[in-house]
Amino acid sequence: MPSTEFEQIVLAGADDHDLTKLSEYEKVGGYQSLRKALGMERQAVLDELITASVRGRGGAGFPSGRKASFVPKPEQTTKPIYLTINADESEPGTFKDREIMARVPHRLIEGALITAYTIGSNAVFIYIRGEYLTEYEIVKAALDEARDRGLVGANIAGSSWNCTIVLHRGAGAYICGEETALLESLEGKRGQPRSKPPFPAIAGLYAAPTLINNVETIATVPAVIARGGAWYATLGVENANGTRVFSLSGNVVNGGNYELPLGTSLREVIYDIGGGIPNGRTLKAIIPGGSSTPILRADQIDTALDYDSVAAGGSMLGSGGIIAIDDRACMVQVALRVASFYQHESCGKCTPCREGTRWLVSLITKIEAGQGSNADLDLLVDVCGRIMGRSLCPLGDAAAMPISSYVERFREEFQAHIDQGCCPYGDQSSLDGILGPVQQAARMHRQLAVIA
């Protein structure tokens, strides 16, 4: 089924209009939801969001309406209330928020304004990952245009309500996608996660009540207000309402972002929409929700992409970043590349993650080189267990979950490296010799040692 048969919500209209322009966005009903919301009681807007039950699109999947309800009401606090948009998209395999910012920036701005109004906030910060320079420029231009038209700032759309929006660029740190690390970074610090509780809803930015939502979550808000939470809840499947912008990458013919109803199957995404596996190769494995999610074997291709079905298959829907892996990939090399990323991005604050991710890379490197023993393989699984659930923030689990899944579901490949004393793929794996920043730094250090 091609994607055009489904009604798009987040990317609606972007195929036929240049929605980076305010006038074009208004032609498809842009900023009408904001005007409608401003004419409603805050609680009524919140009730629509709760009814819609949009589960957080950043990866955790927490119902966003309920999350907003945790923020104290303006009359319950003496502090300002902040809304922060998480646009620090960095999970490998995920590139949907980048497309949303590039193609429907006004929908993001409108959703942010409605959400800010709902929680009684007058100040929004959009934290955009530093590498997204072009997208930052597009959102900035849209914001300038909206401000010039009286849609951002004082007396918004002729009302008595004021709200500012500040674009804040990150500077290259995956961990800043974690909400408390994001707040630290936004306060001008190293992006290291905070202990919870207190949760950001109570003590977030500058220790004031703060709601943090992902870009895609926010971009669904205008449609929910325009057509009602009850209507939105009819889309998708039970416990997984609405659409998601799935990012498809890896060994597929047509990589890209596709907005589809939740519950669409992996087979439809990879074969019907993605055009299947190129060059006559065979599908070997699928990462369903960004590189931190456990891997699925090719025979799980009929898994539906909703929270419960993917969980039943032993993985997570995560960020919606689907990575197809064909039969040329050595799974030990896949493990090494994924583990290397999390080692590189570990912030170093807590021991299980800082030390554990290094152990993962070191053990997998040894196994890949054909120098590993059965004891090393056991130790690899053991280290995963010692990271899981013991880290300050989800980054530790994000490293341990996929690695233990590779061993569990492709144990025969790890075993073959040990038994044969070499990589069974020789130099024929699609990932052969892949150099990540961790390996690059190690190589530089070795060179310096030789010179010294």
Binding site: A171, G188, N251
Partner: protein, 159 residues
């Protein structure tokens, strides 16, 4: 950018935030741009002065983030994504094409100071790999055969 212009630009940015320390990242970015793409000691002093912080604090923040350079870099920065999605579609071959065309290895700068080449973690263009960031602008679907032309394009780019 003169010292005064940098100071004033940082004040402008800081005015956007309820607390001025929030401007550390944007201030470091401005300082890096003003100092040839990296952060020497005087850049940290400038940021610290403008925001009433210490240079040590500013350096500690900068060292946390990959986009701040603590050592000199080339005029042009080439960053090749080798994360999983790009790796699956041949990122290593693309990286090696850059290495051989520039005569340096990843992590190094050409002797004439024109190019720094490095690997980078996921840039968020996974469906269109291999993704290469050339002076912070993305090039997608980059194959080894595209590399000489990309380098030529950078050589002639205004900087």
């Amino acid at each position: 950018m003169s010292e005064t212009a940098l100071y004033l630009a940082i004040q402008d940015v800081a005015a956007q935030y309820p607390q001025r320390r929030s401007a550390v990242l944007p201030a470091l970015r401005l300082a890096q741009e003003a100092h040839g793409g990296w952060l020497p000691a005087e850049a940290f002093r400038a940021v610290a002065d403008a925001l009433e912080l210490t240079p040590a604090y500013c350096k500690s923040v900068a060292s946390f983030y990959d986009m701040f350079q603590l050592a000199p870099v080339g005029t042009h920065m080439i960053e090749v994504c080798t994360n999983i999605s790009c790796a699956l579609v041949g990122a290593q071959a693309t990286l090696e094409a850059f290495e051989s065309e520039l005569g340096i290895r990843a992590g190094e700068t050409t002797p004439d100071g024109a190019f720094t080449l490095r690997t980078i973690e996921c840039l968020g263009g996974c469906g269109w790999g291999t993704v290469v960031s050339c002076d912070h602008r993305y090039k997608q679907h980059v194959k080894p055969a595209d590399v000489p032309a990309l380098i030529e394009e950078l050589r002639h780019a205004e900087h």
